[in-house]
């Protein structure tokens, strides 16, 4: 099994001098589903931003899909970002229909209308939102908005899906179906790293769970 993410000796200090990440080591194989848990403000968002090539690393090595994120040119970083889907914390969909949200991203990435429409429908079907494709996002529930965010992230066939604050705003009974959705997508070969505040549902423990504590990643 090839390596998707390889992080070693990663350090990150904020402008205020706060050491958020200290000597982080992380290894995720291609096709793995991993949960990264931790209390609020421990650096999960930062770590995902670094892995998603959105934030340049300060110290240490990050290899994603065999590429050293720190040494990527601007263009190569952009190309890598297209292969890494990052669903940010507190994701707010565009004030349009579910399908139009996906169409917007795909067309901005250069797809033609028909091609974008086809991909959008496939992604919506995958997350179970096909029936709500023409529903305005303001009318979607929190769980449906999360599903839409996931569809938006995977609609251009990324290699890696990074999700920040996965269960944010979800009721406890809405969390396990989301875990099941991630497992289904993972079974199709998508590598997923989902960050969530502790505690995560029991179903999550059927796969690998890591915890970010005191700036370091530990296994759970």
């Amino acid at each position: 099994m090839s390596v998707m993410i390889q992080v070693s000796e990663l350090h990150f200090t904020t402008d205020d001098g706060i050491k958020v990440l200290e000597d982080v080591h992380l290894h995720i194989d291609r096709g793995e589903l991993v949960y990264l848990t931790g209390e609020a403000a421990v650096g999960k968002t930062l770590l995902l931003g670094l892995l998603g090539a959105q934030i340049p690393p300060q110290q240490g090595q990050i290899l994603v899909h065999g590429r050293n994120v720190a040494r990527l040119s601007r263009e190569k970083a952009l190309a890598l970002r297209r292969q890494i889907a990052l669903l940010p914390q507190a994701f707010v969909p565009l004030p349009r229909t579910a399908r139009e949200n996906l169409m917007f991203k795909l067309r901005a990435l250069g797809d033609f209308r028909e091609q974008a429409e086809e991909k959008a429908l496939v992604a919506l079907e995958m997350v179970g939102l096909l029936r709500q494709q023409t529903t305005e996002t303001s009318e979607l529930s929190a769980a449906e908005r999360l599903r839409l965010g996931i569809a938006l992230s995977i609609c251009n066939d990324p290699l890696l899906l990074l999700i920040d604050d996965l269960f944010d705003g979800l009721a406890s009974d809405e969390r396990e179906p989301i875990c099941a959705l991630l497992e289904r997508m993972n079974e199709r070969g998508l590598t997923i790293l989902a960050a969530a505040r502790s505690p995560v549902p029991a179903k999550a423990y059927s796969v690998r769970v890591l915890e970010l504590v005191d700036g370091t990643v530990v296994s759970r």
């Binding site: 952009l78 890598l80 940010p88 914390q89 033609f112």
Partner: protein, 279 residues
């Protein structure tokens, strides 16, 4: 190109009342700037009536025989000056008009166009006057449209102020517009859409504003030329001289440049943290 057009169309679709009004007023100031610039080029550089200028309806030129003595010329001068319908009189040597000529000319200004015919007959019948010519309606554009210095300074000030106001209003307009397009920008950035796809539509919108202002002014210039019509054949003279075309071309270039500057100012807002995909 299709990406540019798509994002540009989406950007236009995000225009709301506030951004629309601010950007429209900014375009109006670009228009005023271009209009001031055009006015300075077309009429601001005018000078006093010159030798090459055609005669007005109240003007007469009388050629003096080169054989006349200085005393005879003085006598003629006093005689013409004594005419009740002559408002002013000037003498100039023929060499001033045409090198190699001899003799001189009287440049007579009558008390009005109605008095010209009488003065013309009286002067033409005087001994020593070889030729008289009354003015026609043709007055050179320089003479007709010349502006006093204060007006030129006012135009220059209007030009500078228009640029400043257009930039300030455009900044506010783009801030409002990008505020409603913020979520789309975040989605594009987090998805790895290149800045070369995100920035040009914003700059392009500014360029379009400048272009529209310039085109509006060009239409205005030609409408003014048409409206002034025959009574202002001087405008036709301008056109014949290619001057209007030069001004139109210069205005088009300046409009596009100023619009692009406005667009770049709008695009500079994209570097703000509020458009960052991560919280």
């Amino acid at each position: 190109m299709s990406q540019f057009l798509f994002v540009f169309r989406e950007l236009l679709g995000s225009i709301r009342a506030r951004s629309a009004s601010l950007l429209a007023v900014a375009s109006l100031f670009i228009f005023l700037c271009l209009a001031s610039f055009a006015a300075l080029l077309l009429v601001g550089g005018g000078s006093a009536v010159g030798d090459e200028v055609g005669l007005g309806v109240d003007e007469i030129v009388a050629d003096i025989s080169p054989r006349l003595s200085a005393d005879a010329v003085n006598s003629l001068y006093r005689e013409i000056q004594g005419h009740p319908d002559v408002a002013s009189l000037a003498f100039r040597f023929a060499q001033e008009v045409s090198p190699g000529s001899t003799g001189g000319q009287f440049l007579i200004r009558t008390r009005g166009g109605d008095a010209t015919a009488g003065v013309l007959t009286a002067v033409g019948s005087m001994n020593g006057i070889t030729r008289v010519e009354a003015g026609t309606v043709v007055v050179s554009s320089e003479a007709r449209f010349s502006l006093p210095g204060a007006a030129r300074i006012a135009l220059l000030a209007a030009l500078v102020l228009s640029v400043v106001f257009s930039l300030l209003l455009a900044r506010g307009g783009f801030r409002a517009l990008l505020g409603t397009f913020q979520a789309e920008i975040r989605v594009m950035r987090v998805s790895g859409v290149s800045e070369r796809t995100i920035v040009p539509p914003v700059v392009g919108l500014g360029t379009l504003m400048g272009l529209l202002a310039a085109l509006l002014l060009i239409v205005g210039i030609y409408l003014a030329q048409y409206a002034l019509g025959e009574g202002a054949s001087s405008v036709s003279e301008l056109a014949n001289g290619g001057r209007v075309l030069v001004v139109v071309f210069a205005d088009l270039i300046l409009g596009v440049l100023l619009g692009t500057l406005v667009g770049l100012l709008g695009a500079s807002l994209l570097s703000s943290r509020e458009f960052s995909p991560l919280p």
